[in-house]
Symmetry: C2
Subunit: 396 residues, 2 copies
């Protein structure tokens, strides 16, 4: 039985923003939703109970990382990723495509005498991608088929089709080649995903959804072509990636402008790896339902905590600044998170100054709470057709 589905609850009257519910075998997700990243099978410093208390109902785990460590035999023996991590709510995994490309290349890069050589570390051909482990340099291969198999083994509720991720910037010619390969791999991903689902029919394993991945770099015709091609395939939802690669907000907005109108409204949409405050408004405005981002937790571990201030568009406080040493207020006075209801800026400043583990945890709790509170405000605003007003309040 298919236990995955998406329903729209309300369409904003002025923008493409919408509220909805994603149904999964591990429960429902109210959308719009922020999806924290638990790269290595844990959202850094937090327990599953912490996440639940923070109203997180979906988090992201990287297939590449779990494949290398602890390895899929461990996850399989554990009875899947949910049981391994002690998380009873929905999970989304990626295809591994982005990590094999970026991490497999970044480390163990040994240039030859001509300063070349990096390209040898990640070899892409029609079959798949050969890469080296960032842990020990050992060689591995990911194909659409193994990516699907690995994600079924992890047992996440939402999988992503294996795509060909490329560097930025990239020539039009290479972007087209890469996109076309992504399309062929999308068809192979679908086929293998269906095969896995058929094979698991006898077991008690529930259906696991598969999102198609739209590529095309920063080229309008490619992005549109990719959206048209991928949405013709029977995916359960769609993921748009490769927009943060540019690290250029304008380009990201343009990609969303091109792609969003081509996505079928009745299917859920995920934006991969983006999430500054203004991005969040933009992506929901484009009708995306979920997005994942390491930013809130990564900033937290650097001591950068979110706080809405009187200065417009400034949402971060550097807790390490000396002015926090004697500040006995919480990070945010009206925040109801565990950190803000129990500890002062002065104490968290101290923890960071002396590099105590508790600091990372308290800051992570606050930053996830802050983003989830914002997303929850946005969800309510969409429901009341006041999304534009809320956006103005926050950003203008």
């Amino acid at each position: 039985m298919k236990t995955f589905g998406f329903e729209i609850v309300h369409n904003d009257s002025k923008t493409n923003a919408r509220t909805g519910i994603i149904h999964t075998p591990h429960g429902d997700i109210q959308t719009p939703a922020f999806v924290p990243v638990g790269t290595q099978g844990t959202v850094k410093s937090l327990t599953p109970e912490d996440l639940h208390d923070l109203d997180v109902r979906l988090f992201f785990v990287n297939t590449y990382h779990m494949y290398l460590r602890p390895g899929l035999s461990v996850i399989s023996q554990a009875g899947g990723l949910h049981r391994f991590m002690g998380w009873d709510h929905p999970l989304i995994t990626d295809s591994g495509g982005f990590q094999v490309f970026s991490l497999g290349r970044k480390r163990y890069a040994k240039k030859n005498e001509n300063g070349e050589g990096e390209a040898d570390l990640v070899r892409i051909n029609e079959d798949g991608v050969t890469f080296r482990s960032h842990w020990d340099g050992s060689e591995h291969i990911f194909t659409p088929e193994v990516s699907m198999l690995y994600q079924w083994t992890l047992g996440s509720d939402i999988h992503i089709a294996f795509d060909d991720c490329t560097e930025y910037p990239i020539s039009y010619k290479k972007a087209r080649e890469s996109m076309e390969r992504t399309h062929r791999w999308a068809e192979r991903s679908l086929e293998e995903h269906a095969r896995q689902w058929t094979m698991s029919m006898g077991s008690k394993k529930p259906y696991q959804a598969l999102y198609g991945s739209i590529q095309g770099s920063v080229y309008e015709d490619l992005r549109k072509e990719s959206a048209q091609f991928i949405t013709l395939l029977p995916f359960d939802g769609y993921a748009v990636g490769g927009v943060s690669v540019g690290e250029n907000k304008e380009e990201m907005r343009r990609v969303m402008d091109w792609v969003s109108p081509l996505l079928p409204p009745q299917k859920s949409r995920h934006l991969l790896g983006v999430g500054e405050i203004d991005d969040i408004f933009a992506l929901f405005e484009h009708g995306f339902d979920t997005f994942d981002c390491v930013q809130p937790t990564r900033l937290a571990r650097m001591g950068r905590v979110y706080a809405k201030s009187n200065k417009r568009k400034i949402f971060e406080v550097d807790i390490l600044k000396s002015e926090c040493a004697h500040d006995f207020n919480p990070i945010e006075k009206d925040c109801s998170c565990y950190t803000c209801t129990h500890f002062s800026r002065a104490y968290i400043h101290h923890l960071f100054k002396v590099r105590e583990l508790l600091g990372y945890r308290l800051a992570s709790i606050h930053n996830i709470s802050f983003i989830n509170r914002l997303v929850s405000e946005i969800r309510l605003a969409i429901g009341h057709d006041s999304f534009v007003a809320l956006k103005k309040e926050w950003l203008s």
Copy 2:
């Protein structure tokens, strides 16, 4: 009003072990009790709520560390250490004597041409100890008077008199000099402590207890003389230090053999900085009521978790060992701690292998739980006059 006191509930019929209650302004402590160490104002990786859930009712903070960072002006402005850390239960602080001696010397040690010079970094005279910050090498001085002032400022429930800590091994002559200095400093500590208490009478600050510190290195006559001298002074309780310095269990036992019979039974006794499993039985057998030790949390952060095994006297599992990678049992099957009721050895092994912060936290929770469960068993056993039997079950 003095709100500190100790009462014996039950004396073991066969040994000097006893159960009791230490009353403090921040609540009662059932003894025997294990006292975790929160060196820098946090028990590493854990929140106050975690500690409370682990039945911790007293923890240890180092005055030296709080004095250097965040500095006492911050603690004072925060309204004391309890409020700064968000901890509503009792606290014990040390005098700083051990840290100024060991940390002030260890770092920033620059030898001169003759290989000497270390001695210059920590200069002891009749007034007090001049030392250098392990953070930045800046020079500071601790005297009995400032140690008392600092501990009043921290507002812990139990203070310790400022003592002269020496290296190990040390000659008899030097040990005697050091002990006699400790005794003079004990009198000065008492005087300053009383002055602080008198001065604070107008405020709402409750009385804060002061323990005397017994020194004398590994020399029988010195330890006995120190115990006799210190217990003649009107301290609220007694702390025995300098026994772990030897890192020699036999010497530690001998010191306890000499000192314990000379301690007035009606006052509470604390053993400083000791706590392997067999030590725990030994110190309670000698009538100590509380002990502090970094071992359970330090081992946890190294991935060494406690587990009672069939092999006698082996209480540690190295979670990083490859045999844990596929072990889906909890650390201990019959442990009811959060870690053991939610996560497998395999998952914790994974967290340590990929150096995830959550691993340190889960292991710390288990190790504190393990020690507290043992201490609780000991407390019950003393109450039923079966302490000796329990010790045999665990150690022989």
